[in-house]
């Protein structure tokens, strides 16, 4: 991982961007905007009336350049505080920065830690290749995806407990009014029945979207999902399939859910061939799972994440993404990233033993063993039922992840 610090004394963000790009091109001729498999974030700490851009880039593992750059990082941090490189103009400070670049760095400033404490997050620029975009939270994007599906696919139906009024997580708000009560309807309280019913509807050709109110309630339907839905195509030799079925189930802790409103059962389903389990990119998944009919798409289970995720803040972890087919694509992303950085931390709320982090760890170590600088760290829940009063201690929060990262770095 490479960090590039740029010490600027301007308030104008766009000019800063321009100068940043210039520096990027100067230092890293290999760098291009698209191929950043890890992540790109710009952090703008505002202190002492100086603005500093921090950009993390992934470059080919050029060890000399990395050392140089890392030294530059440390220097600039110190420089920012001791006002060594205060310049009045962009080019002036750039020049000063370049001149002061030195591979040998001596002591670390004790203000380094203080600088690291306060950052303002700058989001990535909005992608324009898909047309007009709109900012939405997770629930809204689910509602929007369902809306698009119902409008484009006349066979699509949504059903589950309390979906008619909008659902307990507000993912079906307004859909019943828009599409009618024969397409968006409530079911009685029977998870096994709901899923079985959904399988039947999908097999007959409808696009069925079944909702299980909380993932903790999915267990009565476990047999239907694992034995019926997942194996339908296989056992019928592709004569029948329930590829059009999507089961939505909110999982994860909400802060006060206790034992039965907080579970993460993805590992149980990821172990079953024939279904796809996905917690991310919900909107894309819902859309492509309805339009895509190619084999080997088996019946899809889409799981969604409530917005209060305790591990949301620090993006250096790889939040897992499971699934039969997509996992190949995603793991290649993991591998590239591990090759460059040498360390991997996987985190999820589900208990650590047998959790999905184990699968990722073992696959990554198979492929990238020699690239690993430290053992793969799993920061997960304890091997206990999800507790009632002890929830803040149970969940793998940012501090536990931070601790794990520190240990990995100092391994």
């Amino acid at each position: 991982m490479l960090l590039l610090f740029l010490n600027l004394n301007r308030n104008n963000q766009s000019e800063d961007n321009v100068s940043l790009n210039k520096v990027c091109h100067l230092f890293c001729p290999y760098f291009s905007n698209e191929s950043v498999p890890c992540f790109l974030y710009r952090v703008v700490p505002s202190f002492q009336q100086q603005r500093i851009f921090v950009t993390s880039l992934a470059c080919p593992s050029w060890s000399l350049t990395s050392t140089v750059m890392a030294a530059a990082v440390r220097f600039f941090i110190r420089g920012a505080n001791s006002r060594l490189s205060v310049g009045t103009g962009t080019s002036g400070s750039l020049g000063a920065a370049l001149l002061k670049l030195s591979p040998s760095c001596s002591s670390r400033s004790k203000t380094q830690r203080r600088h690291a404490a306060h950052f303002t997050y700058q989001p990535d620029p909005v992608p324009t290749q898909y047309g007009e975009t709109q900012k939405m939270n997770l629930f809204q994007s689910v509602t929007s995806a369902l809306d698009n599906t119902l409008s484009s696919d006349p066979t699509a139906v949504i059903f589950g407990e309390d979906v008619a009024f909008g659902g307990v997580f507000r993912c079906t708000v307004g859909l019943r009014d828009k599409y009618g009560k024969d397409r968006v309807f409530n079911t009685p309280l029977c998870e096994q029945g709901i899923v079985g019913f959904g399988i039947g509807a999908a097999v007959a050709g409808a696009t069925a979207i079944a909702e299980i109110q909380f993932a903790d309630y999915i267990y009565p339907a476990f047999d239907q999902i694992v034995n019926e839905a997942a194996k339908y195509r296989y056992r019928s030799g592709n004569l029948f399939d329930c590829g059009n079925l999507t089961i939505r189930a909110p999982w994860g802790c909400v802060g006060h859910g206790s034992l039965y409103h907080s579970q993460s059962p993805e590992a149980f389903f990821a172990h079953c061939p024939g279904i796809k389990v996905s917690p991310h990119k919900v909107k894309d998944n819902i859309k492509c799972s309805f339009t895509d009919g190619d084999p080997p798409h088996h019946s899809r289970a889409v799981m969604q994440v409530p917005s209060q995720s305790p591990v949301g803040e620090d993006p250096t972890e790889e939040n897992y993404f499971a699934g039969c087919r997509q996992i190949c694509d995603l793991l290649s992303v993991f591998f590239q990233s591990v090759v460059k950085t040498g360390r991997l931390l996987v985190s999820h709320e589900a208990p650590v033993t047998g959790g999905f982090a184990a699968e990722i760890s073992s696959t990554v170590q198979e492929e990238c063993f020699l690239n690993l600088e430290a053992p793969i760290s799993r920061v997960c829940g304890y091997d206990t039922p999800f507790p009632h009063i002890f929830e803040p201690f149970y969940i793998p929060d940012k501090w536990k992840c931070f601790e794990a990262i520190k240990r990995m770095i100092n391994y």
């Binding site: 407990e161 409530n186 309280l189 802060g255 799993r378 920061v379 304890y382 507790p387 009632h388 002890f390």
Partner: protein, 390 residues
Amino acid sequence: MLTNISSLLRAYAQKSGAAAAVSMRSYSDFTPQATFEIKKCDLHKLDEAPATEVVMTREEGLKYYHIMQTIRRMELKADQLYKQKIIRGFCHLYDGQEACAVGIEAAINMSDHLITAYRAHGYTYTRGGTVKKIMAELTGRRGGIAKGKGGSMHMYCKNFYGGNGIVGAQVPLGAGVALACKYQGNNELCVCLYGDGAANQGQIFETYNMASLWKLPVIFICENNRYGMGTSVERAAASTDYYKRGEFIPGLRVDGMDVLCVREATRFAAEHCRSGKGPILMELQTYRYHGHSMSDPGISYRTRDEIQEVRSKSDPISLLKDRLLSNNMASVEELKVIDVEVRKEIEDAAQFATTDPEPPLDELCNHMFSNNPPVEVRGTNPWAKLKSVS
């Protein structure tokens, strides 16, 4: 001298005015017992019915009043504490349905068994839990009835198996408990409760079959409070005659807002079970004033008028109070004394629940298995292992 006497009397009256008033009336003024006419039950596959003329003594009446008032106050206090964020999580309140818990308990023994779903605070109390322990469990403190590890939905005490979060899952468990009773031959039975929403779960029907096949001493009770979370029974069930859903199991439909109706019906059902005739199904038609849980305002799927109407016409505590007063079995002051007592008990319990410390962090991993040497529990980091003791 007169001023001294009057000030003495005033002081005494201020200390316990109602008690002073009561002590002036002797207990022989009250009717010791009275006969009441109660509603007839609807029957399914039954030739006999529970009695429609029942006797209630004064002591019984006051006891039922005390317990119902305690449950009512306790639930309202829980509501208050929840809004103050002292209780967190999910909290399903039982006010409006007190007659069910009290009536059932009046007809069975403490040695009988009971299992219910998550609306369990009332049953925890009638089965022997104290208000203090219940409230401490709601706030998740170490003085709680489940050591603070369960919360609102997971309260247990002797012969009371909870407190179960997953809808309908407790019914097969109840049949299992009944099997144990039959196997041990101790003439005990199991009362197995569930709601109108759960009545549509598959496991209920599986349980009906097993219980009937093996003639288990289980009383299935469906507490029909007309709404399964936000869905009314008409929109959820093809047949809202829940007492007939057992099909081959005899059934009773009972007015669940009248404690005497519930008591009589449960007595009848208990006799049926204990005589070896097998399971029996009861539907208690009742009502909850609060929403499904504290996160449900309870008015988006029903009108405030409806709630008000039930409160004014069929409130279980008011019904009992009217009966006691109109038959001269208690006085208004006496009931007020009980109210004050109950209020104090609840206040003390709430105080305890708020100030008791939380369980120690070691409890996080305890009680997972039964083991003699403590087991190591893998945790968030591979270098941090916690101990699990049982």
